[in-house]
Amino acid sequence: MKSKAGPLFLEQRTYRRRRMADAARFLPFLGAILFSVPLLWGQAGTDASSTTAVMLYLFLVWGILVAVSAGISRKLREDETHGADDKTPSKSGV
């Protein structure tokens, strides 16, 4: 965090908003990795994982992704409405 006098408040808002946008960008990659994890689990013969275990894992990940995505969306919106005087455009590319 930068600690400058004066525009400290705005800086923080801008900073937080940018980081939330970063989080929104990372989330699909995290999801893709988590959804591929079961591929590493045993598939062949006797040590095969059961469908129910994979199913429970997938739905758990799914639920967490939905919740995190909801949190990020809300934060992005909050920042936008509160920081109406924050003129910094949302650039694509950090």
Partner: protein, 899 residues
């Protein structure tokens, strides 16, 4: 068992309810109520057309055949949605700023507004979607047949074909009714959106209800369900990594590229902010839809007799257990999934077909000139309606021909892989500025061919098109051309094989050709605007209209967006430019606005082509190129400023020239008026003097001769008086000394009176057409003065209309805050350069063949100004046209019986 009749009754009631809801939503939206219609929740629910009957029935079938693999179809879209910050946000922004009407329109617009590309995309979309529509029809008929078979009271099974036909007809009707109400495809179809949102709720509720019944009703709880799954044929986690990742990617790609998804996600989007909600709510919806799929599949496999189609477990499980209510709910859920998909797909495809195929062909067949092509609006609407019928019919034919044999999941994946071919062009267009048209066309073409050969044609099995020996030995006996082992990639899963090769070759060719070829300036410009949409959303323009082509543009626009809207658009632009009347300067800004407006109706490529026909080709201005080429920014900026200044100066010079011309004309008019007035005064004076001298000096005149001469003197004196009266009248009006004599009367009576007065008792050669219904308004104003204006306009038409059979049509309409009364004759009208001066004093067009001092219209204008209205010349009509406007405040409440 549920009697079939109950099912049919419930189904029809449901359909009637949907119609009612759609109608009510449309109604509310048009009256400006119902802001909840645009809520993010409705947007999220409308996205659920991703879940078609393929999800509702097919997911369980998919799970029964290959376990958890089904879930990849929903993981892909989940990843796209939670990654909305990357792609969807950009797609929606581009779609809104460019007024895009379909995915074909977006791609064509990005690559230099190329119609060739739009046609390619449209064709591929139609080929890819037809099987999918067939699939929906099949699912409805299959589920209906299942019900019929389980009902002992129904003696004979209903014919499957006829069920499908009825469903297809009903869907076509619904889509045409609510999907083509407005020509502007940019406008939201509120009725349709609200109906599919409702269907989204119904299908989710139905699937959850069946799931709850299976888990707690049949299995007896969660732990028991888990135990039953562990004992079922799908107990093992056996998924190949290739299929798992490949299917997830495929479904993610299809989610972005499916025409119907694009329609609800981008075209129907009203507020970019809705995406924030959809980003988590839609993955949640998908999760709930998939939640009970595996339990239903596992328990279905255990309890149902072998050989029962697993695609229909959702329906047959409740039926077998005697839960008729639940079975009917489940049927309605499946029905909802199928119908909402067909409706939106038909709207999306019909927009593409009519904008990119029918309209260009039609315009071309009309000689290729946009200005001369008659009323385009009706043609466009008709084209869209016919396309809807045609697309649903195609789906029905596919269903008839294919016999409905394949399992649901197989057709769905073929369709997905087909539309996924748009992905490289779409993503390249959004993120890579150097992507160009040639690359996009080549990539799409290659991907399409590979998909056809490796996936679409083999999906029919061995047939006359693709006989067995091609499967075994390849095309032309070349073993590396086997459809399931291209380039020797043997032993792969056919689906992964086809998706991999088609996408790989598509992308490689797209990138390679883009790197090697050079884009046209328009492509570079559009590329910069698409890729940097967040940096400069306000787009620069390619138009430079330097000729006074406004009237031609107006004629064309009236035919596309309707005369009222076009006149409003043009007069609004003219007002912003500080000009009076209806014709603005064709500035680049105005032309861009007009192109956007038109593209909402006929698509980007067509709108661009039509305007360039009139204005004469788009040029890329230096300002635009600045956005493309940063490297020479300094020099360019300087010359761009010069160019802007030059253009500005040219415009100012043009305006000055116009003003100067007007002044010169006025001066000439004044001179000619002076000579005219002295002539007008002298002629009667001369005859008065001559005849009075005769009367005085000549003796022995007969009484007849005396009477004759004094009549001449009297007539000439009357003529003089009239001329002086007119002059006096005008000066009184101009000085504002006139006292208005306010009366109340009906417009139609006033017109009757004025038409009779203007005819002057003669048999009139001028035919007058009116619409008396519209004239039934009561005015409270100075009716005598208003009549004077009307008489003048009618008399002018009689005097100057040079048609062989002169006719004048008088029409009135109330529009917002104004009452407009148009007088349009069928003559040759008034030349553009004369339009500016006809309202000036002493102005007369051409020779003085019809007499009069040229004061009539000047008096009219002064009168209308006093009455709070105006009289203007209306350009771009069939002949001379004048519009009288009155403030709506003079219109009294509708007539009672009192008058």
């Amino acid at each position: 068992m549920a009697p079939l009749n109950v099912l049919v009754l419930v189904c029809l009631t449901y359909v009637a309810f949907l119609f009612a809801v759609a109608f009510a939503a449309d109604h509310a939206a048009r009256r400006g109520r119902g802001t909840w219609l645009r809520s993010p929740i409705i947007y999220t629910l409308s996205l659920s057309i991703y879940c078609t009957a393929w999800t509702f029935y097919g997911a369980v079938g998919f799970a029964a055949r290959s376990g958890l693999e089904f879930v990849t179809i929903y993981l892909g879209p989940t990843l796209v949605m939670i990654g909305w910050w990357w792609t969807l946000r950009k797609m929606v922004r581009v779609g809104r700023s460019q007024r895009v009407t379909s995915i074909a329109d977006l791609i064509s617009s990005r690559y230099g507004k190329s119609n060739t590309l739009a046609v390619c995309v449209t064709l591929l979309a139609v080929i890819g979607t037809t099987p999918y529509i067939a699939l929906q029809l099949q699912s409805v008929t299959l589920s209906f047949a299942t019900f019929a078979a389980s009902d002992p009271t129904s003696a004979d099974l209903p014919d499957q074909q006829s069920t499908a036909l009825w469903v297809a007809l009903g869907l076509t009707l619904f889509t045409i009714l609510f999907g083509t109400r407005n020509l502007d495809a940019n406008e939201r179809h509120h009725g349709v959106v609200i109906a599919i949102a409702l269907e989204a709720v119904v299908k989710l509720f139905a699937l959850l209800a069946v799931g709850v019944f299976v888990v707690w009703g049949l299995a007896g709880g969660i732990s028991e369900t888990i135990a039953r799954i562990d004992a079922s044929p799908i107990m093992h986690w056996e998924v190949s990594g290739g299929r798992w990742i490949g299917l997830t990617m495929l479904s993610a790609a299809a989610f972005l590229c499916l025409p119907r998804m694009f329609q609800v996600m981008v075209v129907e989007n009203e507020n970019e902010d809705d995406l924030r909600t959809a980003a988590w709510a839609f993955p949640g919806y998908l999760m709930l839809m998939s939640l009970f799929v595996v339990p239903i599949a596992a328990i279905g496999l255990q309890t149902m007799p072998a050989g029962v189609n697993p695609d229909l477990f959702v329906l047959t499980l409740p039926l077998q257990e005697g839960r008729d209510g639940l079975a009917i709910l489940s049927f309605i859920g499946g029905f909802s999934s199928a119908t909402s998909m067909v409706i939106v797909a038909a709207i999306a495809l019909s927009t593409m077909v009519s904008n990119h195929v029918v309209m260009p062909v039609w315009l071309w067949s009309k000689g290729g000139t946009a200005a001369m092509s008659g009323d385009v609006r009706h043609v466009a609407l008709l084209a869209r309606r016919l396309s809807i019928g045609g697309i649903v019919l195609l789906g029905y034919l596919y269903f008839r021909l294919s016999g409905g044999g394949e399992s649901l999941a197989a057709i769905g994946l073929v369709s997905f892989a087909g539309v996924a071919q748009f992905l490289p062009a779409l993503m390249g267009g959004l993120f890579w500025r150097a992507a160009n048209r040639t690359g996009a066309i080549s990539g799409l073409g290659v991907g399409f061919v590979v998909w056809m050969y490796c996936m679409f044609l083999p999906s029919f099995g061995t047939s006359s098109i693709l006989p067995q020996h091609i499967f075994d030995h390849g095309l032309f006996g070349l073993s590396w051309l086997r459809p399931h082992a291209l380039f020797g990639a043997d032993g792969m899963d056919p689906l992964v094989h086809a998706v991999m090769w088609s996408m790989l070759l598509n992308t490689a060719v797209f990138i390679g050709v883009s790197l090697l070829t050079f884009p046209r300036p328009v492509e570079r410009l559009q590329g910069a605007q698409f890729v940097n949409v967040f940096r400069h959303s306000s787009t620069a323009t390619g138009w430079s209209g330097d000729l006074a082509r406004s009237e031609d543009l107006m004629i064309m626009s009236q035919r596309i967006i309707g005369s009222r809207q076009a006149q409003a658009l043009f007069s609004g632009a003219a007002r912003r430019q500080g000009l009076a009347g209806y014709l603005p300067e064709p500035t680049p800004d105005f032309l861009l606005e007009l192109e956007r407006e038109l593209s909402g109706s006929v698509g980007t490529a067509t709108a661009h082509a039509m305007i360039s026909q009139i204005v004469g080709g788009a040029t890329v201005s230096v300002e635009d190129l600045l956005a493309v080429a940063d490297e020479t920014a300094q020099i360019m900026e300087y010359s761009s400023r010069l160019e802007a200044k030059t253009q500005e100066q040219a415009r100012t010079a043009r305006q000055l020239r116009a003003a100067n011309q007007k002044l010169t004309q006025l001066s000439v008019q004044k001179d000619s008026f002076l000579s005219q007035i002295s002539h007008e005064l002298r002629t009667p004076m001369t005859s008065i003097r001559a005849f009075s001298e005769i009367l005085r000096d000549t003796g022995g005149l007969s009484p007849e001769e005396q009477a004759k001469y004094s009549t001449i003197i009297h007539d000439e004196a009357v003529r003089l008086t009239r001329l002086l009266d007119d002059l006096l009248d005008l000066s009184v009006l101009e000085n504002g000394q006139v006292v208005l004599n306010t009366q109340t009367g009906r417009l139609s009576d006033l017109l009757d009176r004025t038409i009779a007065a203007a005819a002057g008792g003669e048999v009139d050669s001028l035919e007058i057409r009116r619409n008396r219904d519209k004239e039934d308004v009561v005015l409270t104003t100075d009716l005598d003065r208003l009549a004077q204006v009307f008489i003048n306009l009618i008399a002018n038409a009689r005097k100057y209309c040079d048609a062989e059979k002169p006719s004048l049509s008088i029409s009135s309409k109330q529009d917002g805050s104004e009452l407009k009364i148009d007088f349009v004759d069928n003559g040759s009208g008034i030349a553009t350069d004369q339009q500016a001066v006809i309202f000036e004093k002493f102005a007369r067009i051409g020779d003085t063949k019809a007499g009069g001092a040229g004061l009539g219209l000047a008096i009219c204008r002064e009168i209308m100004a006093r009455l709070g209205g105006d009289v203007t010349y209306l350009p771009g009509q069939s002949g001379g046209a004048f519009r009288v406007t009155l403030p709506v405040s003079v219109v009294s409440s509708p007539l009672g019986e009192t008058l």
